[in-house]
């Protein structure tokens, strides 16, 4: 054997255990989550039956942290349509299959097909595609836009695209996420379902002054809010007499401010907002 051959042989002998170890590791990982060459961009399992099965799988694998209705709890609220790890089908697939490193969310131990079904279900949480809400908007969206901008003054608190305030939820894609019935109820009875991050609180200071806004953060010693003037505020609890949460809706009830046509037009406009996606 030449010197070079010897060196190569030695090298291969040294590498062999490493190679075997790698194979073992791959085999172990493979047993748990078979590798797929590429994740499809579009969910291949989206029939009504798939979604139905996804609902059951969601209860088994997800509801422990995300709540029975995807409302969140230990895990994130899945009803908002916004996903921090990406909202495309393939991004959601990756998140569910691999988990989120550094969080409590581990990989979901289900087959690829089952994961797709779960995603089909998750994407319908909090969307307008509720089986019970099939109402169509009857108003004029163009007229509704004028109500939105002028008489309703909705943009002082809500944002569409880059325009508007921050006290209420963004509405850029509200027509994708919410149906007519829900929007109507929100306009007439805003207190019926206020998302937690937008619930109004009033901080009564020891001085007697009251500051209203939405809570941004809180611990045992302080509270942070966005006040109704869109200012960021922080108060030490030692300076606070009381925190009142009895008026969760900062939004006015529009039943007495808009007539029926204006309301219908506004709902038609909101329903037409489908966002950039």
């Amino acid at each position: 054997m030449s010197k070079l051959t010897k060196i190569i042989c030695c090298f291969l002998v040294l590498l062999a255990p490493l190679w075997a170890q790698g194979r073992r590791a791959a085999a172990q990982a493979g047993a748990a989550a078979p590798a797929t060459p590429a994740i499809p961009d579009k969910n291949p399992f989206e029939s009504p039956q798939d979604v139905q099965q996804g609902g059951g799988l969601f209860q088994t694998h997800c509801s422990y942290c995300h709540g029975s209705f995807g409302e969140g709890g230990r895990g994130a609220d899945l009803t908002t349509g916004n996903y921090r790890r990406g909202g495309t089908d393939s991004e959601l697939f990756t998140t569910v299959r691999n988990g989120i490193p550094g969080s409590e969310m581990g990989p979901v131990r289900a087959s690829d097909e089952e994961i797709w079904k779960i995603i089909g279900f998750v994407k319908r949480l909090g969307t307008a595609e509720r089986p019970t809400d099939t109402r169509k908007a009857t108003g004029d969206p163009a007229a509704g836009q004028i109500v939105y901008e002028k008489k309703g003054a909705c943009m002082s608190c809500h944002r569409i695209g880059e325009v508007g305030g921050n006290l209420g939820p963004e509405l850029s894609d509200i027509g994708r996420r919410r149906g007519v019935t829900f929007l109507e109820e929100s306009l007439l009875k805003p207190e019926a379902d206020v998302p937690i991050p937008y619930r109004g609180i009033r901080v009564v200071l020891n001085s007697g002054q009251t500051v209203a806004g939405v809570r941004l953060n809180e611990d045992d010693v302080s509270i942070q809010l966005r006040d109704t003037g869109d200012n960021l505020r922080s108060f030490l609890k030692s300076n606070i007499k009381e925190i009142r949460r009895d008026q969760p809706a900062l939004m006015p009830a529009y039943g007495s401010m808009l007539n029926k046509k204006e309301l219908d037009d506004l709902i038609a406009y909101l329903t037409s907002l489908k966002g950039a996606r």
Binding site: G56, T60, F69, E114, D193, D220
Partner: protein
């Protein structure tokens, strides 16, 4: 020649003087079993997970006390640089701190400065199966060896002076059933290492193991679900005993006087659906009293028969000798995840009393054996039952409680919350079929208005409990149900931290908050206290940082 001898003597004397003034690393080893038994006599050290075998998590140090705690400030930080929950309890032996960092890394630090002395890393495979994070809760020490359990079901012995691996044994196949893990700290009893396991969310079959600390040899294994032919085998319907959970994922306690090991067990599996496991499902949700030499069961007490709410009884047993109704008794006290505080006679498991320490809706009382009278309507339902208190994470969870022999109060960082309990379609993680739907009506889900629990509908509270009666003597409320435990000291202080990162010291007699520090990240563990260079320090993990506080 003479001058030379004088110089030699002088140098030798200087060397001795220097050695006396400067602490020498490693001089605190070995930590004998005798020292572990008498850990209360070494208040400068933190020799085991719960500070002593009675699991009091109490420090006999009082340099930091109710008078001067207002001056407490940060001395040093250990930057964990990891993304997992930091659930460790460090050990401290004569100026050296040993701690685990996720996933299964071990660090030895100078306890006065936080400077690293050595490090050891156990690499887990990319995918492991602990239900709730790639966490580790700490080490045990005996002699000059440290012991750690791992997420991929190994138990490892390290040389405490170098971090060198001495032995590593496989506890079990971590991929079996739905997946096993061992996130807890082990417990040394005599020359044995008691090791638990997790997996109650994944259809495992629970056990507790004892290893020879010298060799790593498995000495005994107790199945927490009775096998065919063993007593209480018939408490599971059909084949459900094979996948019944009942894991042992936290730490235990030991009574040397009676040579009894006490250890809690987890929920039965499936967590929220009992249809296929009719019966009491022993020994899930129980405390086991065992002979640590043989692994034989002496007695058991089941807190929640046929649990449907994931109310593990893996809290750490606290052992007290106290008066109960005028009679001196050896007690075992337990603030359980099911929301009740229990007092048992630890010599025989006799139920003495129980009292709720958080809001609860499921139980109207106990028979004289301690069996709860369950109120109907609290079961999980397919559409989600959101009216049950406490919630799935319980009134107490795994976080440590503390007992102060000075105030004679038990301190519990309790959780007040409700949560939606959903009866899942049952599908075994590995062996179940493809009918994940299980007849579940997805459309029906949309018919319910989704429940939303506002932040103020749940909260946390540190409570001081009279251990004999279960009566709450004081309460300190915090914003969010906690995931950290509490530690009491002879300075009459109770230390802890909240999910928002508020590290606090309360007056152990009144619950009044005397000091706080805004750590601004989640506290997932409990504090320890110890001496470094003669000065009392307090360390607690906040976020991925271990923060150490001192007076000067």
């Amino acid at each position: 020649m003479r001058a030379h001898r004088i110089w030699t003597c002088l140098l030798a004397a200087l060397a001795v003087a220097a050695a006396a003034a400067v602490p020498v690393y490693g001089q605190g080893l070995p930590v004998t079993y005798e020292r572990l038994l008498n850990s209360d006599k070494e208040p400068g050290n933190w020799l085991m997970y719960s500070s002593n075998y009675k699991s009091w998590r109490f420090s006999n140090l009082n340099q930091i006390n109710t008078e001067n705690v207002k001056n407490l400030h940060v001395k040093w930080l250990f930057q964990g640089r990891h993304q997992e929950k930091f659930e460790t309890t460090p050990l401290v032996v004569d100026g050296i701190m040993y701690l685990t960092r996720p996933e299964n890394d071990v660090y030895a630090l100078d306890a006065e400065t936080g400077r690293m002395l050595w490090t050891y890393s156990h690499r887990n495979p990319p995918r492991t199966y602990n239900c709730c994070g790639k966490v580790n809760r700490g080490l045990a020490i005996l002699g000059d060896r440290l012991f750690m359990n791992t997420l991929d079901m190994h138990v490892i012995a390290l040389d405490a002076k170098t971090g060198r691996e001495i032995w590593k044994e496989t506890i079990y196949d971590y991929t079996a059933a739905g997946g096993y893990a061992s996130p807890g700290a082990p417990l040394v009893v005599k020359d044995k290492l008691i090791v638990g396991m997790a997996g109650g969310e994944r259809g495992v079959s629970g056990f507790l193991s004892a290893y020879d600390t010298a060799t790593g040899k498995l000495l005994w294994r107790f199945n927490t679900i009775p096998q065919p032919g063993e007593p209480n085998f018939g408490t599971w319907a059909g084949e459900s005993w094979k996948t019944g959970g009942a894991s042992t994922w936290n730490n235990g306690s030991y009574d040397a006087e009676t040579n009894t090991l006490y250890w809690g067990t987890s929920n039965p599996w499936p967590d929220y659906n009992g249809d296929f496991r009719a019966g009491d499902n022993l020994y899930s949700c129980s405390v086991l009293a065992m002979d640590p030499d043989t692994g034989k069961l002496k007695w058991h007490f089941q807190f929640t028969p046929h649990d449907l709410h994931d109310w593990d009884s893996t809290q750490i047993p606290i052992l007290l000798d106290g008066e109960f109704r005028g009679r001196a008794r050896k007690l075992l006290v337990w603030a359980n995840r099911n929301g009740f505080y229990y007092v048992l006679d630890r010599t025989n498991g006799e139920f003495l009393t129980a009292k709720p320490f958080v809001k609860q809706t499921w139980n109207k009382g106990f028979d004289d054996k301690g069996r709860p009278e369950v109120i109907p309507g609290n079961e999980p339902t397919p559409e989600g039952n959101d009216s049950v208190w406490p919630g799935v994470d319980g009134g107490a969870n795994w976080m440590s409680h503390s007992y102060s022999p000075l105030t004679k109060l038990l301190y519990v960082f309790a959780r007040e919350e409700r949560r939606t309990f959903t009866k899942n379609a049952v599908r075994h993680p590995t062996t179940g079929g493809d009918d994940g739907g299980g007849g579940f009506d997805a459309a029906a889900m949309f018919r319910f208005r989704r429940p939303r629990f506002a932040p103020e509908e749940s909260w946390g509270k540190v409570i001081g409990i009279d251990p004999g009666t279960g009566e709450t003597k004081w309460e300190h409320q915090v914003v969010t149900p906690p995931w950290g435990g509490v530690t009491s000291t002879a300075g009459n202080l109770v230390f802890g931290g909240t999910l928002e990162g508020v590290v606090f010291a309360l007056d152990a007699r009144t619950g009044k908050r005397l000091w706080y520090f805004s750590g601004n990240d989640r506290v997932y563990s409990s504090a320890i206290s110890y001496l470094a260079n003669g000065k009392q320090l307090v360390s607690i993990p906040v976020g991925d940082v271990l923060i150490t506080f001192g007076l000067d």
